[in-house]
């Protein structure tokens, strides 16, 4: 542990590992999936080592800091705290699930698995980078493989979906880039270049120096820079109304890729808000908190309700993802409500713990749901309309049972993972912004209706003739799904397993943020 802390570049190793795997997979032909499985398992192991090697006090550890391009303020600066490490774990788990789910890729398998591994590397890089330039590289790196994965292996309307996804996210990225260029230029002087280091910028923001520097160079641009950064993340999460790319992209992407999009990539946006936007632009976000909270509530409620109007299983759960991540946004923006006192701090801590745990829970649960949809699609030759099925519980009881557990996890049933994080978010948000919390609670009800309707239409009623022989889960599938479902129970029953590591980071983050 101490050895790790004192120098072994484990985060670099973690980021490079999937790239190496990708290089091998590209040329491995029909063995590509094996390569990808081994690589993603190895990554999971390394991510677990990172998780247990974190500093106990919640600060950023496992730091790697090297000079890169000093004149441009660029450093090779890596490090993780509880937040980053949990995201590494999540990315590793979701990638493994995705590779596991994608077991019948006939069209260019080498490229497929290679791209997935490159995407994983992009995720790892962006969850560990602490310098904007470096972080941005990986942020974009993850986008490109995702684009091609949709574009080359997606459904019939994959072309427009991929492009919309790419352009939308790219537009957000450009906004981010411009904002950070402005910060870099503003923090520089005649004698020294500016900085793009998240920690440095956050410290300057906390002391108020950053706003002064920006004001000196660019006038009243600071709120606009904040909006630029927020826009970049709002698209990625997404925050309504920047979510319209999502249903098409999730629906048209092959399901294993949808698992990555919703399970891991959507977390990059939430992570960015927590790691970058709140520490550097806390004051500006606090000033905009009311419209932001309104948008978060719209995301929660309309996301759930739009899911109710869909007929395609993938679109239903795409919107359901919007709803679930809406709770994260709700929790984050509620943090910006100015309050003081021990009770308010407790609420903030509850909200932030909830947000971080919700990121993990949603990642696991949503990925698992799309996994089940992948299985359905494979068994039925690509069908995924909610009215295409009926009574599947009869021919496939184990399938119905396990998918039922996952769906109830998404619904927020106590005893399963999501309940814990949703409880914490509402516990935190209610005292800080009770109107927003009260309206958002409708989301819990509507989500329940949506999910029970799915169960009703797919699994109950008489079995149509042609599904009478719908194959139940094979042993290998059960074996692959069991650990994921076990994880849901584990987090739902003993949340300390994760929260005890997250909470110190939460306390540390809250102590340093200034609104």
């Amino acid at each position: 542990m101490n050895e790790l802390a004192t120098g072994f570049p484990i985060l670099t190793l973690l980021t490079v590992l999937p790239l190496v795997g990708a290089a091998i997979a590209l040329f491995a032909g029909k063995h590509a999936r094996g390569v990808a499985l081994v690589t993603s398992l190895a990554c999971l192991a390394v991510a677990l080592v990172v998780w247990i090697s974190l500093p106990a006090n919640g600060i950023i550890g496992l730091v790697e800091l090297h000079s890169w391009a000093p004149s441009l303020g660029i450093e090779y600066h890596l490090g993780v705290d509880g937040l980053g490490a949990l995201m590494l774990l999540l990315s590793a788990v979701v990638t493994l699930m995705s590779v596991d789910a994608a077991h019948r890729v006939h069209h260019m398998p080498g490229l497929f698995y290679g791209l997935i591994l490159i995407l994983e590397s992009g995720l790892f890089g962006s969850f560990t980078a602490l310098n904007f330039f470096h972080w941005f590289l990986f942020w974009e790196l993850s986008l490109i493989p995702a684009f091609f994965l949709i574009k080359l292996w997606g459904g019939p309307r994959r072309g427009p979906a991929a492009t919309q996804f790419f352009v939308y996210t790219m537009a957000g990225s450009v906004a981010l880039l411009i904002s950070f260029l402005a910060l870099f230029l503003s923090t520089g002087t005649k004698y020294a270049p500016g900085t793009m280091d998240f920690g440095d910028l956050a410290a300057m923001a906390a002391s108020g120096a950053l706003a002064q520097m920006v004001a000196a160079h660019l006038g009243a641009a600071m709120p606009w820079l904040a909006i630029g950064v927020l826009a970049g993340f709002a698209v990625k999460v997404p925050l309504a109304p920047f979510h319209t790319w999502l249903p098409a992209a999730y629906a048209e992407a092959p399901s294993p890729v949808t698992m990555l999009l919703t399970g891991a990539m959507s977390k990059m946006g939430v992570y960015g808000l927590l790691r970058i936007a709140l520490p550097i632009f806390g004051v500006q976000i606090a000033a905009m908190r009311t419209p932001l909270l309104v948008l978060a509530v719209i995301t929660v409620v309309m996301g759930a309700w739009a899911a109710a109007a869909q007929k395609d299983l993938k679109r239903i759960f795409a919107y359901s993802s919007v709803n679930h991540l809406g709770y994260c946004l709700l929790g984050i923006f509620a943090l910006a409500v100015p309050v003081s006192g021990a009770a308010a701090q407790a609420s903030q801590a509850a909200a932030l713990n909830g947000v971080i745990l919700q990121m993990f829970n949603h990642g696991i649960t949503a990925a698992a749901i799309f996994w089940f949809i992948a299985i359905i699609q494979f068994r039925t030759g690509g069908l995924r309309g909610i009215d295409d099925f009926g009574g599947l519980r009869k021919p496939a009881p184990v399938f119905a049972g396990l998918m039922g557990i996952v769906l109830f996890s998404s619904l927020g049933l106590p005893g399963l993972n999501s309940f814990v994080s949703e409880f914490l978010i509402f516990r935190g948000v209610f005292p800080l912004a009770w109107v927003a919390a009260t309206i958002s609670i409708l989301g819990l009800l509507v989500t329940a209706i949506v999910i029970l309707t799915v169960i009703q239409k797919v699994f109950t009623g008489p079995v149509p003739e042609h599904w009478a022989n719908f194959p139940d889960l094979h042993h290998s599938e059960r074996l692959a799904l069991a650990p994921v479902i076990g994880l849901m129970f584990l987090v739902g029953l003993a949340p300390r397993l994760i929260l005890d590591t997250i909470n110190p980071t939460v306390v540390n983050l809250l102590a340093h943020w200034r609104f």
């Binding site: 492009t163 260029l181 009574g391 609670i441 109950t460």
Partner: protein, 698 residues
Amino acid sequence: MIEQSAAFTPQFAASSIARNLWLIPAVPMVASGIIALLKQPQRKLASTLAIGSLGFSLLLSFIAFAHVLRGWAHGSVVRETVSFTWLQFGHSAVDLGWVLDPLAAVMLVMVSFVGLLIFIYSVGYMAHDENFTRFFCFLSLFAGAMLGVVISNSLLLLFMCWEIVGLTSYLLIGFWYQKPAAAAAAKKAFITTRFGDIFFFLGIVWLFSQTGTLLFYNHGIGSLEPLSLAVLVTQHAGLGLSAAGAIGLLIFAGAVGKSGQLPLHVWLPDAMEGPTPVSALIHAATMVAAGVFLVARVYPLMAAGAPIMSIGAQPGGTSVALTVVTWVGAATAVFAALIAVAQNDIKRILAYSTVSQLGYMMAGLGLGGVAVGMFHLITHAFFKALLFLGAGSVIHGCHEEQDIRRMGGLKVDMPLTFITYAIGMLALCGFPIFFSGFWSKDGILEAAQHSSVIKGPFYLLVFGALLTAFYMTRQVCYVFLGYWRGPKPAYESPMVMTLPLVILAFFAMALGLIGTPAWPWFHAFLEGRAAEFSVHSLIEPGFLLLMATSSLVVFLGLGFGWRLYGEKSPKPEQPDALEKSVPWLWAPLRDRLYVDEFYGVTVIAFYAWWGRVADWIDRRVWGGIVALVAWIFALWAQLNRLLDINWVDGGFDKTCEELSEGGGLLASLQSGRVQNYLRILAVAVVALAVILFWSSRP
């Protein structure tokens, strides 16, 4: 009530039974997990595991009960708690835990005892079902979660178990999932109760943020203890409510959903789609009573919610929360009883009767306190479980027939079922002296009569009693008297089904003995005071008058019923006797007063409409804006392309075109020129960077 809880002597060192109390819910839950892994043919093992584990829980429950009883006999009120930290956030923690006190002990014994009888009964009832194994898996999970609700010392743990109870109810209502009606009923039950639960959830969150704890009792700093309550009653929550009152009402909303009170009662009659043992256990005896239990559990909070401007109000006035509980209960009692009058499905009559009786319990809580409401809960659990199991026996014997018009004369074919059913029916009607329902209902009526604040509920409840006697007489006449009207002859059920009937029938009569005014043992036990035997309170003129009144009402109801239905056995096609005399009243009652239809055109229509609106906004409004922006960029890109063609090297352009095959946001508009678009962005970024560099120069 506050003074009372203050008088409890806290015991810091929990006894060994209190420390191990968690085993009572845990063992059936573990059994359920094991049964889930069994294969379909392992029926014997499944039922043995389920019955064995619940038997173990019953044993522990008796030990726990005996422990509380011993403490009570020595004059101290037992309230032992054990808690642990479930998770931490910031410097706060969420503690969960369990409590052993008289309320928990009584419920533990009731739930595990009635549960065990129904488990045994199910072995016979479900014998021919192919999913027998899964049935016992769900039943065990239910029993575990319900026992968890009972022992929870934390509102959050209670809620968690409460939701799992809701899940098992959902699974068991929809047990015959291939019937669309069952699947729909299951969904309706879950969603209706969850509607109440989101308010409950808000109440939990609010209580937690105000008091910093969700433990009920925690050596003086629990959320139900005077220290927290004192804070809660002083905080305004708007609308003249204190925080305590508002939180109490939010929690009550959860109880309204679970216990089928107005206006969320609609799911319970539909829940009868489940197998009959499920109706008996979950939708009559235990789960639906969980709402009543919840109100009893958080009673100090409900009672403390006195209106802030209560200084001017009448002394002895009750809190806003309890007033609401009373009115909701009383209104439900009459409303559901009215509907029960005109139903023809044997189980639906009982279901509406359950809704009505739960209303009595709520009113009892609101008017007379924990003991009054809880006593009716306990007696009702026994006689209603008896009635449902009896109905199951009838259905079983009549070849799955549920329409009472196609039965008749069963007193001959099913003598044991008839006798036990009659006992249950008389207990439910509140037939004087010998039946438990008489004493528990009279307790509620007495409390209503003595209430200094509101008189309305008393008259409602008396009217409800009249209706109860009437609809039960009608049902029994249809089913057991007259002559057989079904196609195939009926037969008596096997021992494994009738034995539980006999045991329940015994308790349906005997339980009254522990709650008579002469010896109010039950009330004394729950309230932690000594039980005194005094015949005086029985012959006190006020009480005698009440007994006479309620007896008269019961006889009236029985008499009306007998006059209309006794020994007549109308043919199934003939209109009902009541229909003939008052057709204008019959139709709305038969159609359940159109509540479902009303929800259909309001709430459900709104839900579907709003979903379409959300979808439309997404596709048209947001999608339209995106399309517009894309179109502008595409236009710009076209312009750029023209420039390219005319000015820039054509070869480069050709490469671009090849690359852009198939890309295309709104392909018709911009024909896939992402590259162009990106190029513009890149140019823009560079330009901006140059400008910024320029402007940043000193």
